[in-house]
Amino acid sequence: MDDRLRETLSAMMDDEADELSVRRLLSQEEQVEVRAQWQRWQSVHDLMHRGSSPADGIDISASVREVLDGRTRQPEPALSQRRNTPVRWQWPAVAMVTASLLVGFGAGAGWDSGNNPPNGLASASVPEAAVNELSGEASPVRELALQGLDEQQWEHMSRYLLEHAQHNSVGAGQGSVGYARLVSASGAY
């Protein structure tokens, strides 16, 4: 499964995936792999919340497709409806799991891969970002995979990271921790 699919899948975990991406995911030939990945992530999520994983062995691709076909004209109400459910209290855990999985499973795992971002990911995330975010207290925060940034975006973000780390290093009252953050940020590109 490529990074683009993985990102869509992770966006689905956060209720953030757009319809086109989901369709693309469902039309993939490697459905077994997609399903396995989804179940793994759901298992981790459920383990964190309930200590068990009801997602095992359930195929939801057909019902997701049905929902998509039935609601193509009005995706927005569906979204806002979902945001009012108790899911809001679960987002940090889901986001956390997604983030760690993205880092863990991502190509060249981790912070240092910023030099070689997969271009597909970068081009996928920018147009989505241009669409105004559906903000609100209840909505989950959109996670940006670091691997998804292109070189210029990465450079831009590094600058902010460094500048912030530098604020800390000079006097956060934490001495070496601040310097460590600075080095960690500057070693990241």
């Binding site: 981790g110 001495g175 990241a188």
Partner: protein, 351 residues
């Protein structure tokens, strides 16, 4: 742990729970009488101990998938702090600090020019003087004794009182109060950031030679501004001498309680402000959007969140970035509360 100590601790904990708002006022004298320091007293000692203890050692720092180790020598003599840090992995590099003068030697990497970024102060006072109010935003609790890098330590848990900040755990050396290990944890008690000495020697016997630069490379030297002097922005632009020069051109509609403006670093078209609650800090950057199109959303590296968004205001597009040790939801809320004023928009048009 001895039984007497344990029962003392339990009493202290119960007391903390009962009188959250009066920890410092009431809890401290009670504990002092029994000859045992409270969590609040350990915290008061943290700032001075970081500067006034002399030591050498190696520490590791981990956040996200990233782990670094650094060698450090720190000396406090005649009222002057001297410090030398040497990176132990990756490219070679070092920091040397003497008083308010900092020299960085970092390997050439990427396209980011460090000389545009390295120190602009004055942050030290703003941050470290806030250590006491920390207990307003975190509940402090002693977690017992431990041993780190060969030294006996006391563990202090600082649990966030609201969801807008992370919790911390500090391990402090018993004699000096030096911070020898720390965790930043989220609401699920997962460790997001880890700092720890792996070897440590607390000693006053540190020769001058340990504070000399030895790495070859491009040196960047800066003098930090002493506390109380004018921030950079005020010096640069006379019109900035208004009521809130640090927030010139834009303002925040919301920020987590307790985070106070600490400094306005940087120059040029970027307007940045750092905020701190005494323990955690975040920086807000607002600048006209350039040619680089940035996606909207949050990225995380350990305990550090970077939240970016585009802000459109009367045909002008600005990039708002919040970077700091705070949860993504709080970072987003801060970023979304930024409002750009007219003055800044005129400035942006001239770029």
């Amino acid at each position: 742990m001895k039984k007497a100590e344990y029962s003392g601790l339990r009493l202290t904990r119960a007391w903390l729970r009962m009188s959250l708002a009066f920890i410092l006022a009431i809890g401290a004298p009670a504990a002092a009488a029994s000859g045992k320091k409270t969590a609040a007293e350990w915290l008061e000692q943290l700032g001075p101990a970081l500067n006034m203890t002399s030591y050498r050692g190696v520490f590791v720092y981990a956040r996200g998938a990233n782990v670094h180790s650094m060698q450090i020598a720190h000396r406090y003599r005649n009222g002057i702090v001297e410090e030398r840090l040497v990176m132990q992995d990756g490219g070679s590099g070092e920091f040397v600090r003497r008083g308010m003068k900092v020299v960085c030697v970092l390997p050439e990497r990427g396209k980011v020019h460090l000389d545009q970024i390295i120190p602009s102060g004055p942050f030290a006072e703003a941050f470290s003087s806030q250590l006491v109010p920390v207990s307003r935003w975190y509940s402090a609790e002693l977690k017992g004794d431990d041993r780190v890098a060969g030294y006996d330590v006391v563990t202090v848990a600082l649990t966030a009182r609201d969801p807008h900040r992370y919790s911390h755990r500090l391990w402090l050396e018993k004699n000096t109060g030096l911070l020898v290990k720390s965790h930043v944890r989220n609401a699920n008690d997962e460790v997001l950031e880890h700092f720890q000495f792996t070897s440590l020697e607390i000693t006053n016997d540190l020769p001058d030679s340990e504070f000399e630069i030895r790495t070859e490379g491009h040196e960047i030297s800066r003098t930090l501004k002493a506390a109380g002097k004018l921030p950079l922005k005020q010096v640069q632009s006379p019109e900035a001498l208004t009521e809130k020069p640090r927030m010139h051109g834009w303002k925040l509609g919301w920020r987590p309680q307790g985070f106070e403006p600490a400094a306005a670093p940087g120059a040029g078209k970027s307007q940045a402000v750092a905020f701190s609650d005494g323990l955690a800090a975040f920086s807000v950057f607002v600048e006209p959007a350039g040619r680089v199109s940035m996606p909207t959303g949050a990225s995380r590296i350990g305990a550090t969140t970077v939240y970016m968004r585009q802000l459109e205001s009367e045909d002008k597009v600005f990039l708002v970035t919040v970077v700091g040790e705070l949860p993504p939801a709080s970072a987003r809320r801060v970023a979304e509360s930024v409002q750009v004023g007219e003055a800044f928009m005129v400035g942006a048009g001239e770029q």
